[in-house]
């Protein structure tokens, strides 16, 4: 990449525009923490500049820079309609600096809630995957029950897992365990179905190859059928993961004492929309982060496909 391609980007101009806008006088009647917004923007710009120097692939860099560009535009408009010209109801639409401020003030509380949510997700998700994949392999492999199981799975996966919550509450001692249970169900069926369809779709020639190499039954299942159906399994996992986040945050809004959904619901009940928006954004970042890491894992394990 040439220096020009690396550093001469419209996003940097947008960054400067954003800074210039911050020089305008604040018309809002509440503290808008302009300096915090500026620090956040500068931090983002520094990350972009470091990435510009380090990232090797041109497309990935362009993507990152463009996203930052959008962010700067968004922040500029947001601060104009709130802090700078006070067009919007400050109660419902707090200035961006105020959100950054709230995040800094609440960071420990937010971290506790994020951790609680993530732990619940991980427990339910890992447990479901650990049961669904081997079970799907075994049942999909035995052709006779395989197709029957497909129909049963279709039935169970058609039930939106959220309706299990009341029954889960009756069944299990704590709300935490109910959350894990519901996430387990939300993940189990798609992963189970994905595994089975993966197994049923494995090319017969691959199985023949394993047979002529005298690969044992169990080894065939885990060393041949499993990798051959990995893509389908990941399809199920992705579905389970995204549904899990929806479910968990909904469940936390209903009855939990912590978690990201709880944070959002709790403060919106008090009309504290600054914290509500802060919570929404944090949830967005957490989900993006988890999805990103999961995709990395998937790409690594499926490297041989491309």
């Amino acid at each position: 990449m040439t220096i020009k391609k690396r550093y001469l980007r419209i996003a940097h101009i947008l960054f400067i525009a954003l800074l210039l806008i911050q020089l305008l006088p604040d018309q809002a009647t509440y503290p808008v923490y302009t300096s915090l917004l500026v620090r956040f923007a500068v931090g983002t710009e520094i990350v972009v500049l470091i990435a510009s120097a380090l990232v090797k692939k041109e497309e990935s860099l362009a993507l990152l820079v463009d996203i930052a560009g959008f962010l700067f535009v968004f922040l500029a408009i947001w601060s104009l309609v709130t802090a700078k010209y006070n067009y919007l109801n400050p109660q419902l639409f707090p200035a961006p600096g105020k959100i950054v401020h709230q995040f800094v003030v609440d960071r420990e509380k937010i971290w506790t809630n994020v951790r609680s949510s993530l732990l619940t997700i991980i427990k339910g998700f890992v447990l479901a995957t650990a049961v669904a994949v081997p079970l799907g392999l075994f049942i999909g492999w035995s052709a006779r029950v395989g197709s029957a199981a497909t129909y049963i799975t279709k039935f169970f996966s058609s039930i939106p897992p959220i309706v299990y919550i009341p029954y889960g509450i009756a069944l299990l001692p704590t709300f935490k365990s109910v959350s894990v249970f519901v996430i387990f169900l939300a993940t189990f069926w798609p992963v189970f179905a994905g595994t089975m369809s993966g197994v049923l779709g494995v090319d017969k020639k691959i199985i023949d190859s394993a047979k002529v190499l005298n690969v044992g039954k169990l080894e065939t299942l885990f060393k041949v059928i499993l990798p051959a159906s990995l893509q389908q399994i990941f399809l199920g996992c992705n579905q389970g993961l995204s549904v899990s986040f929806i479910l968990l945050t909904s469940a936390e809004m209903i009855a939990a004492k912590d978690g990201m959904g709880y944070y959002v619901k709790y403060y919106s009940d008090f009309g504290d929309y600054t914290r509500t928006i802060t919570g929404l954004l944090v949830i967005g970042f957490v989900v993006i982060g988890v999805t990103f890491l999961f995709n990395k894992l998937q790409n690594r394990l499926l490297k041989w496909k491309h």
Partner: protein, 272 residues
């Protein structure tokens, strides 16, 4: 009397498709001597691949016997190396790992540490030096088949079963691969040659490679004729194809293959 390495007697195979059973092979008998290269040719649907499936142990015959070294064949076994037309290699393993896996399965005496060295050795033999860390999807079809051959050879089996291994390869590379196989199989005389059963629909391929050609007739698959290939080894394609003997022999095989089809369809109007 010498016994054959592989002895097929009155082999009958029924195939079940859409709940209807049909006779894929009927009373097929022939033998393959130790160290002999035998090709099985025939029109598509004549059951040549089915025949190989039986030898691979993937398909059980309805009647007749297959003996290897005088023993009845039962199921699959790593004393037979197999190369398929597709998917001989596991796509999630690198080329080298595929070969190492084959060695692990077939040669229990080879220590774990030696597998890598043997795999490299065979990668070199088939001209895939430096491609060991590639996944099959990163290789061309021809290179994949080289790797599959490398694995089958690295398994050090006495018998090699090849099911149209070069049919999906473009003509130029097919010729190169045939010559590679010929060279590897003929060897330098230091080691005994492997017993090969090679299925193909390419007559020139069969002539170039084989000691003996089994011509199958379709519906049901029966042996039309077993023909000995009268050309000396080591063979050179360029020299071989220019001789009159080659053309004559080739025509004879063609007539064996196509007379049969013509008869079936009904005489003179058949243009092939």
């Amino acid at each position: 009397m010498t016994t054959n390495k592989i002895e097929i007697k009155d082999l009958t195979v029924n195939y079940i498709e859409n709940k209807r059973s049909f006779n894929a092979l009927h009373d097929v008998s022939f033998g393959v001597a130790d160290g002999e290269f035998v090709s099985v040719i025939g029109a598509s649907g004549c059951g040549k691949s089915t025949l190989l499936s039986v030898l691979e142990g993937l398909y059980a015959p309805a009647g007749g016997t297959v003996q290897i070294d005088g023993k009845e064949l039962r199921g699959t076994g790593t004393e037979r190396g197999v190369v398929f037309q597709h998917y001989s290699l596991f796509p999630w393993m690198t080329t080298k790992k595929n070969i190492e896996f084959g060695i692990k399965q077939a040669r229990k005496d080879v220590k774990r540490g030696d597998r890598s060295r043997i795999a490299d050795e065979y990668l070199t033999k088939v001209g895939l030096d430096g491609f060991g860390s590639k996944y099959p999807s990163q290789l061309s079809g021809g290179m994949q088949q080289r790797a599959a051959i490398a694995r089958a050879l690295a398994m050090n089996t006495e018998i090699l079963l090849m099911d149209e291994p070069f049919s999906a390869i473009d003509p130029k590379n097919r010729v190169i691969l045939q010559e590679l196989l010929l060279k590897l199989w003929e060897g330098d005389g230091s080691e005994p040659r492997k017993t090969v059963v090679f299925v193909t629909h390419d007559i020139d391929e069969a002539i170039l490679l084989s000691d003996k050609i089994v011509v199958l007739t379709a519906h049901p698959g029966t042996v039309n004729e077993v023909v000995n290939v009268p050309f000396d080894r080591p063979r050179k394609r360029d020299e071989l194809v220019r001789t009159d003997e080659y053309s004559k022999f080739r025509n004879r095989l063609l007539s064996l293959l196509y007379n049969d089809i013509a008869e079936r369809i009904g005489g003179d109007e058949v243009v092939l």
